[in-house]
Symmetry: C2
Subunit: 431 residues, 2 copies
């Protein structure tokens, strides 16, 4: 892990850079997969499953029998944990539902904005060694709160053609309408274009490997909505003199274990903390089952101190971390000055993993500095905000002249005329 | 104008199709422009101005002298109209500002979502024959309400190197920080990458020709945020038996005059209205200065009737119009069933041009069916929603077990450990 003390501003561009994740070399392969699914639908999906998942899938849709089996096999302990997390996630997201407010901007001119759920959302959940059932909660619960009429989910089958039971359990609990056995870029293609079994989704959500994220990027450039641009996960941990090194080290490692391309940054005003936390991190690393991945991520990682508080804040916001842990005694002082971050964890007893699983906030967040302009998944992600307006005859008399003058100044006489014909009708006393 | 009576559902796919706007043939040229601006900055912008705008630009930034001149030359009548519109737009958008709500999801676990303005937004305003100063209001006013620290604007100069005075007036009124003389794909490149004069923007807004929209699409696929995917403008006008044909015709034409690739759709339950409104439309067409453009747009246009109310509603939502005018006696019955549209205009006296200019709602809206998943520009477009959480030691005791169980089930022991080290510290009575 590299250490930096008071690095000058001209080096920041390098210090905030992420591990390169260039998807361009995946584009030709992924485009071929998209084209194949668009052309051959289910048949293409089954062929890809045979090729990539090494399994022959007869029916893409998960059956009720499979769901029921999952419900039986999952432990009560895990069920309880999932229910607790789901309740918190639901509580937090319900509170973020937008209100409908009517505004009379002028007498007789009433405008409002109504939130309407996206009709069909498609969720992607990766398979592989770590079954991300928590992401099912994070993506499906707000969809259900938004009242999206259809919530479909694609996830790859294992070599026996099965889906992880915790994923099925979470899907059923959170109101997912249908689950399909399809993974990778081909699953994204299926949800983007539709196949015989899998309906076309209006918006596609979820994490994935570089094939999946490249596929999302490609369909997004065709106008199909996606949740967020993707990049490897990252955390910035801010510590003060009193922060227990064990806490900071555990937080850094909880991010580093995600993958070799994860990045973890320690930031502090106290240079003596850099070595203390590095030592503790390397010690804890030895205990981790995924220590090889985590060790690689630590190579991309940085321990940085700035004696000056404002420069510390400046660097924090310039980095625009996906996760920002303010493991300091007075986190509010820092939190009030956060302008760019995905999700912020305040104080010594708020680890990132709380937000990853169970506290209630969403864990689908902007990475790679995208927090400069993007929000994490939230209720807005599932809603279209449609504006409405209703103008009375008197209202049009009040606002009509303004519209006519502006339309004429823009040389759009048709726009002007749409007002004029109405005002003429009113002044002639016709209905 | 083609007329359809009770078209069967299998023909809808064709009937909801938009005029083809394939940008792919622009990609190589636009990519070359982007690369050139990335490499040579201001110098490239000036060279492109010479080439495309036929003018040599000495200073890209509009000077105070130029602003002051604009303030003097614009008529009082237009100033008053702009002020009235600006006040309405401000009133409506302020009411849409999200609240901050704190949620205690469990005792000791507090979560909230805070809206923070995007640091620097870049607005593009096209030049050409129709100076779209109304778009300055629509894009800059919500940015100012959001308190974006920097609002920059690019717009092409005319052959004398000048910017339209109404655009400058609106920019100054709405708190635009800096205006630059740059147009086309090169202006988008400048805001995406930054040049010596023009700072890099975090998000790019605004309409434009196919070069501009292709440039926005290309920079967006590089992760630079944009407002909306683009397409030609469109309106659907719904009429009943009593709707004055003159109103419907004027509304259809106010959209058709935008450009040859605009599309206008009439929808009704009364087949006898199709011919009546077609006749009136062709009559009014003759009076329009932009009648050639409008006539071309009418070729892409359709007059459709469904006797069945539900099929009428079904078609309305399947089309997902950018603008939906419900010029009917009881618009609420229809409006309550709208699920896909950009902006809805209710009743006989609510023309689309009210929303285009002055009623208060935004006129930057999803075209091309994108209303299935996208919202028009609104306060969210200028804000990042950052989640925060703060967990007390007791809170972590309440939620810790849940996190540990879920992390273990996902085989992410580092995530679990970030909780365990803290719970251990608490149970040993250490601070």
């Amino acid at each position: 892990m590299k250490k930096y003390i008071n690095p000058p501003e001209q080096t920041w561009k390098e210090l905030i850079s992420r591990p390169v994740f260039d998807n361009s070399r995946f584009v030709p392969n992924v485009q071929a997969i998209l084209d194949e699914v668009k052309l051959n639908g289910d048949q293409a999906l089954k062929a890809f499953s045979k090729k990539f998942d090494q399994v022959e899938i007869d029916q893409l849709k998960v059956s009720d029998t499979e769901f029921n089996l999952a419900l039986e096999t999952i432990s009560i302990e895990l069920k309880t944990a999932i229910h607790t997390a789901a309740a918190n996630i639901e509580k937090f997201h319900i509170d973020q539902l937008p209100r409908l407010i009517r505004t009379e901007t002028m007498p007789g001119v009433e405008c409002w904005q109504k939130s309407i759920p996206i009709n069909r959302v498609g969720l992607y959940i990766p398979g592989g060694t770590a079954p991300l059932f928590s992401t099912v909660l994070m993506l499906a619960i707000p969809a259900r709160i938004a009242q999206c009429p259809e919530i479909i989910l694609c996830t790859p089958p294992d070599k026996n053609g099965k889906i992880n039971t915790a994923i099925l359990y979470a899907a059923r609990l959170c109101g997912v309408t249908k689950v399909f056995k399809a993974g990778g870029a081909q699953a994204i293609a299926a949800m983007a274009y539709g196949t015989e079994s899998i309906p076309r989704a209006d918006k596609i959500f979820g994490p994935g490997n570089q094939y999946v994220t490249t596929a999302k990027q490609l369909v997004s450039s065709q106008g199909i909505a996606i949740d967020l641009p993707a990049g490897p996960s990252e955390v910035m941990v801010v510590v003060d003199r009193e922060t227990p090194a064990a806490f900071a080290a555990a937080d850094l490692l909880s991010q580093a274990e995600h993958g070799a391309d994860s990045q973890v940054i320690l930031l502090t005003r106290y240079p003596e903390k850099l070595e203390e936390i590095e030592t503790e991190t390397l010690k804890q690393l030895e205990q981790l089952p995924r220590k090889e991945l985590a060790a690689k991520a630590l190579e991309n990682s940085r321990l940085i101190s700035f004696t000056d508080f404002n420069r510390c804040l400046g660097f924090m916001n310039a980095y625009a971390p996906e996760h920002l842990i303010l493991a300091v005694a007075e986190p509010k002082i820092w939190a009030d000055r956060v302008t760019q971050a995905g999700s912020v964890f305040m104080g010594y007893y708020t680890p990132e993993s709380a937000g990853d699983y169970a506290s209630g906030t969403n864990h689908t967040l902007p990475t790679n500095g995208f927090a400069n302009a993007y929000s994490g998944v939230n209720m807005d992600s599932y809603l279209k905000k449609i504006t409405f307006q209703e103008i009375t005859p008197n209202g049009l008399k009040n606002i009509g002249k303004t519209i006519e003058i502006m339309a004429e100044a823009e040389q759009l006489m048709g726009h002007k005329n749409a007002v004029t014909v109405r005002l003429n009708t009113l002044s002639h006393g016709i209905k």
